[in-house]
């Protein structure tokens, strides 16, 4: 698959194009081109390093939404073994925008669920761009309850622009479905790890994101409202999304500093899509070590610590 480059990556794209051209010429040329290619590769790498060492929040948002970014099912395939997808909320339907099932993490059975975006137009429509409906959140709740019943760790992967704001979703109780998950996750008697792999879009993300540890990939974003939505309300135009992205503090680095997430997993140079295997390996290692921290706790301690964390969210002054 050809790499797609974002606007701010254009200098890298140009270099890479040159490298491709040389490779093409290389076969039937007498010139020693391999040296030139190696030189350009080094330049491309250092340029990438430069550009990526100083990304704005808006640029990170674009990376989080990169069309080639690995999605939930990609990571499930790469990080776990023996995945069996489980479907349906038992009440209304099965939501392809939120997938889940059982798998093994280094041999250990777990329940995993996450938002699922589509790769091509057809799949995007089928997956509703990763915007889940009430039946998706209710399927998630059903799987969470199953995980609790059999004492399986729960791992949730967050990647959604937000819960689906459609008529049907409203009719079937979108708010209630989300709220129900929040209160349930505050009380589940099994360890929960949530990882933002791409977009953490508001309530639709949080609905599977109440956890013992909240982790983010380096170029993931997590926000109360999309930068575009915030800009159109507060700046009266969605064109100020760049400013809104900065103001909202949506990046992993910022949120870690604010104490709102517990850990950040570094991404391969250029982002997760440049090396999805490397990314998956890092995620797997992080999940294994985080889980081992949680599994030494008694159920009572686990819930007490989770509640304590939840109660501690917020900044205010007494006085």
């Amino acid at each position: 698959m050809d790499l797609k480059f974002l606007d701010f990556e254009q200098p890298i794209a140009e270099l890479e194009a040159k490298i491709d051209e040389l490779k093409f010429v290389g076969d039937d040329s007498e010139l020693n081109i391999s040296e030139e290619i190696a030189r350009l590769r080094r330049r491309s790498e250092s340029l990438t390093r430069d550009i990526f060492s100083n990304l704005s929040s808006w640029q990170i948002a674009q990376l989080a939404r990169h069309p080639q970014r690995p999605y939930t099912l990609d990571y499930i395939r790469l990080c776990f073994d023996d995945f069996q997808e489980l479907h349906g909320d038992r009440m209304y339907g099965d939501d392809p925008a939120l997938v889940g099932g059982m798998a093994r993490l280094e041999g250990q059975p777990i329940v995993v669920l996450g938002h699922q975006k589509g790769r091509d137009t057809k799949e995007r429509v089928k997956r509703n761009y990763g915007m889940a409906s009430p039946e998706g959140y209710r399927k998630a709740l059903r799987l969470m309850r199953m995980a609790e019943k059999f004492q399986l760790p729960l791992i949730t992967l967050i990647d959604t622009p937000g819960a689906y704001p459609g008529m049907g979703a409203e009719e079937r109780g979108q708010s209630e479905a989300i709220a129900r998950n929040l209160i349930a996750m505050a009380s589940l008697r099994n360890p929960i790890i949530s990882l933002v792999i791409g977009e953490g879009g508001s309530g639709g993300a949080l609905a599977i994101g109440v956890a013992d540890r909240v982790l983010m990939l380096q170029y993931g974003i997590y926000s109360v409202i999309s930068p575009e939505g915030c800009a159109s309300i507060l700046w009266k135009t969605s064109e100020k999304a760049e400013l809104a992205a900065e103001a909202l503090g949506i990046t992993a680095e910022r949120l870690l500093k604010l104490g709102l997430v517990d850990g950040v997993i570094p991404e391969p140079l250029g982002g997760a899509h440049r090396d999805s295997r490397g990314m998956a390996e890092a995620i797997k290692n992080s999940l294994v070590s985080t889980l081992s921290e949680l599994q030494v706790l008694s159920v009572g301690n686990l819930i007490e610590q989770r509640r304590h964390r939840l109660a501690g969210y917020g900044v205010y002054k007494e006085g």
Partner: protein, 286 residues
């Protein structure tokens, strides 16, 4: 003035509160546009006597009309909002807060009180919609949590009157996480066997409906209140669907199975006291 008012430092006192309905002898109904005599409208709890429309009402007026006279004292009044992100759009969040505090006389968008309703001890919280659209930030979340703590300590039920556009953008992810915080508090209230009655008033949307709003043991709405996850404009814009008349109104939600009941504001005390008395196994309220 109750005894408690005398104990409060003067800067918490809010003598000059801005009413939800502007001052003046005559008021226009926000729905049917009838000209209404202010005193009469107030006697009718801001329900239009002509068309029964439930006009928006301030948090303190709400608590005052719901609780037994002089029974209430405020909980967690001393919490002051902060600006952890130094948030600035066309205005600074700091300035917006100062303005909202000046306009409403409140420090933030939720007021919590312990008191009695028809002699039943309760804790009641009410959102102040005039304060940044009743949006939920850290102070709202913390006050809600402390109201729950008070309930658990004193074995009281909780009643919430919500009126909110959702999570407060200016506190960004802190606000989003208040949804988790308030929901976790309600989990503890439930474990203590104490009832939670949620009364959603116009409007209750976004992060507030998707957390404490719809988590009541009993979910009530005021007539015609707009209740939903996404606001009507957002739905129309993002989905390109035109919304039918009455979509997301309380009556619609009741029909779809999303609510237990719709209660006229003028009967709220009677209805809610009767529910609480049953849930708490107390004699029928007088």
């Amino acid at each position: 003035m109750s005894w408690f008012d005398n104990l409060m430092p003067s800067r918490i006192k809010t003598e000059q509160r801005k009413r939800s309905v502007p001052e003046g002898l005559w008021v226009k109904c926000t729905d049917c546009s009838a000209q209404l005599y202010r005193a009469e409208l107030k006697r009718n709890l801001l329900v239009c006597p002509k068309c029964e429309y439930h006009m928006r009402i301030g948090a303190r007026d709400r608590l005052e009309m719901f609780l037994d006279p002089d029974s209430g004292h405020e909980i967690a009044a001393n919490l002051e909002p902060q600006d952890p992100l130094k948030f600035k759009d066309s205005k600074r969040y700091r300035d917006r807060l100062t303005q909202a505090q000046k306009d409403t006389g409140e420090r933030d968008a939720l007021v919590a009180m312990a008191g009695t309703v028809k002699v039943i001890p309760v804790v009641v919280v009410a959102f102040e919609f005039q304060f940044m659209a009743g949006s939920m930030g850290s102070v709202v979340g913390e006050r809600f949590r402390r109201a729950v703590d008070y309930c658990i300590e004193h074995k009281r039920p909780l009643v919430c009157f919500s009126a909110s556009g959702g999570a407060r953008m200016q506190e960004a992810l802190f606000s989003l996480f208040q949804m988790a915080k308030t929901s976790a508090a309600l989990a503890e209230l439930g474990e203590a066997g104490l009832p939670y009655i949620s009364v959603m008033t116009d409007p209750t949307t976004g992060g507030v409906s998707a957390s404490l709003g719809l988590l009541g043991d009993i979910n009530i709405a005021e007539p015609k209140a707009l209740i939903g996850f996404a606001g009507p404009r957002v739905i129309e814009q993002t989905v390109g669907e035109t919304l039918p008349e009455g979509f997301q109104q309380a009556e619609f939600l009741l029909e779809k199975g999303g609510l237990d009941m719709i209660v006229d504001r003028r009967h709220a005390r009677d209805e809610i006291a009767a529910l609480l008395a049953k849930l708490m196994d107390r004699p029928k309220p007088a």
